[in-house]
């Protein structure tokens, strides 16, 4: 037990002393995941809207596919992307393997089904009168779509937060396509995995604390949003 306590104290010291290696890992983690969520969200929410409010052939099949993709493990996405980006793969000439771009692509793929599925649920629950009112008040279709999205913004924020929580905490895909290169592609989760195998628990615990604090913050944000939603209603 004393060993664990010692590791926790060391972890806190590392965090608050501003250890450059540790903070670079944290910066890379947030940088990659924030970019991934930024790229994935607009298209995913557009698809979610079309699935919720459009009428086209294959709509139900698409919804089922996106729900199925929710269950795909990160390592499977990582493996697929590795094959595609490896030198002998179809996109090997782009030379993206073991780069932050590859990690971002992987996290976009991981977050996309969550954003579409949860966005679809939120938008399906939206009131059809919101769309009709916006159209009748002269809003063009794209603006009416934004209005409907604004009306269910708490549900959509929840989708974004859930997707962000998933990709910043995933390890399989980042490890496979990022390669865990120090100061370049090493992020919080790949660093924790590596430090644990090395027996360097303090660094692992410090990074674990960052993830726990993040998880707490995301949950508090979600709870605050739900409370606000109830208050509005």
């Amino acid at each position: 037990m004393e060993h664990v306590n010692q590791a926790i104290v060391q972890a806190l010291t590392l965090l608050f002393s501003g250890d450059p290696e540790l903070w670079t890992i944290i910066r890379i983690s947030f940088g990659v995941s924030l970019q991934a969520i930024l790229y994935a969200t607009p298209l995913a929410l557009l698809i979610a809207f079309l699935l919720a409010h459009g009428r086209f052939p294959g709509q139900q099949t698409l919804i089922t596919i996106f729900h199925t993709l929710l269950a795909v493990p990160a390592v499977v996405v990582g493996l697929t992307l590795y094959i595609v980006l490896s030198h002998t793969g179809p996109l090997g000439s782009l030379d993206l393997l073991f780069t932050q771009t590859a990690m971002i692509v992987g996290q976009v793929l991981l977050s996309f089904p969550i954003l579409v599925a949860m966005g679809h649920s939120a938008l399906s629950a939206s009131d059809t009168r919101a769309w009709e009112t916006a159209r009748s008040l002269g809003a063009p279709p794209w603006r009416s779509m934004l209005t409907v999205m604004y009306e269910v913004r708490f549900g959509l924020f929840a989708a974004v937060i859930a997707a962000f929580g998933r990709i910043i905490a995933e390890v399989g895909c980042s490890l496979m396509v990022g390669g865990n290169i120090l100061n370049f592609t090493r992020n919080i989760t790949t660093a924790i995995a590596m430090e644990t195998t090395k027996g360097e628990f303090a660094r692992g615990i410090a990074l674990g604390i960052v993830l726990l604090v993040l998880a707490l913050l995301l949950n508090f944000t979600l709870t605050a949003m739900r409370t606000r939603l109830d208050w509005v209603r």
Binding site: D127, R129, A130, E132, T133, A134, R135, S136, L137, G138, A139, P140, R143, T147, Y150, E151, V232, R233
Partner: protein, 237 residues
């Protein structure tokens, strides 16, 4: 004689195998209030949504200002020139003031003019005291008045109202009647679907009943417009 803004011929709308609407003729006339009544499920809301361009019929020949248009082109005009107000009007999740400004912002009206128009609209409907209130938290009657003002502020050619006085207390109903009358008197074409015959018939220039998917004129004495004789014959089923 008042100008006819829109003419609809052979409007057909069905759900599955069931033909819900088969209206031979219907027109929307400037400064004229048309009351459409009918049983629940008769298709009143469907008809109104078609008139407002919110619902596509299987078939409809549309004449706008004497020119026959395809449904696609007619629909674009309807959405620009006709305002639709739901039975339980949808309030955007913001203040009353921003609800009223929404359509003006969509029409790219300059900001200072938006403020003036919103203030004038609030005054018109005697809603000044609700300006900064959350629109979703208003009573049913207040929402209806905000919705009417929100539509009026855009100066549409026609206003389509679906059961505007449903579930309202007497005071709210009277306030709504007054606003509808004012809109009609301002020259707006008003089409109202309602069960509230006793309250709305005195305001209406003609009364049509939707029955079996067809519009049938209901005998009514022309009260407001001497020109009514020219139009009470519609629809010619």
């Amino acid at each position: 004689m008042k100008p006819v803004l829109l003419e609809f011929h052979n409007v057909v709308k069905s759900y599955g195998d069931r033909i819900l609407l088969h209206v031979n003729e219907f027109d929307v006339i400037q400064g004229f209030c048309t009351l459409v009544s009918g049983d629940n499920g008769a298709g009143k809301t469907t008809l109104l949504k078609i008139l407002a361009g919110l619902l596509k019929p299987e078939r409809a020949d549309v004449v706008v200002n004497g020119i026959q248009l395809s449904w696609h082109k007619a629909r674009i005009r309807f959405l620009k020139n006709i305002a639709f107000v739901h039975q339980d009007p949808y309030m955007l999740d913001t203040t009353v003031e921003r609800n009223l400004a929404y359509g003006l912002r969509m029409a790219r009206v300059p900001k200072d003019q938006i403020e003036d128009k919103v203030a004038e609209g609030l005054h018109w409907a005697r809603l000044d005291h609700l300006m900064h209130r959350k629109a979703k938290r208003l009573s049913g009657g207040e929402k209806q008045r905000v919705a009417l003002t929100r539509a009026r502020i855009l100066a549409p050619r026609a206003l389509i109202l679906d059961e505007p006085t449903a579930n309202m207390d007497l005071q709210s109903r009277i306030a709504t009647y007054q606003l509808i009358q004012q809109l009609r008197d301002e020259g707006m074409a008003v089409v109202v679907a309602s069960h509230d015959r006793s309250g709305l018939e005195p305001l209406a220039d003609r009364h049509l009943q939707l029955t079996g998917g067809k519009l049938v004129p209901v005998d009514m004495v022309a009260r407001h417009h001497p020109s009514i004789d020219n139009v009470t014959r519609f629809p010619r089923n």
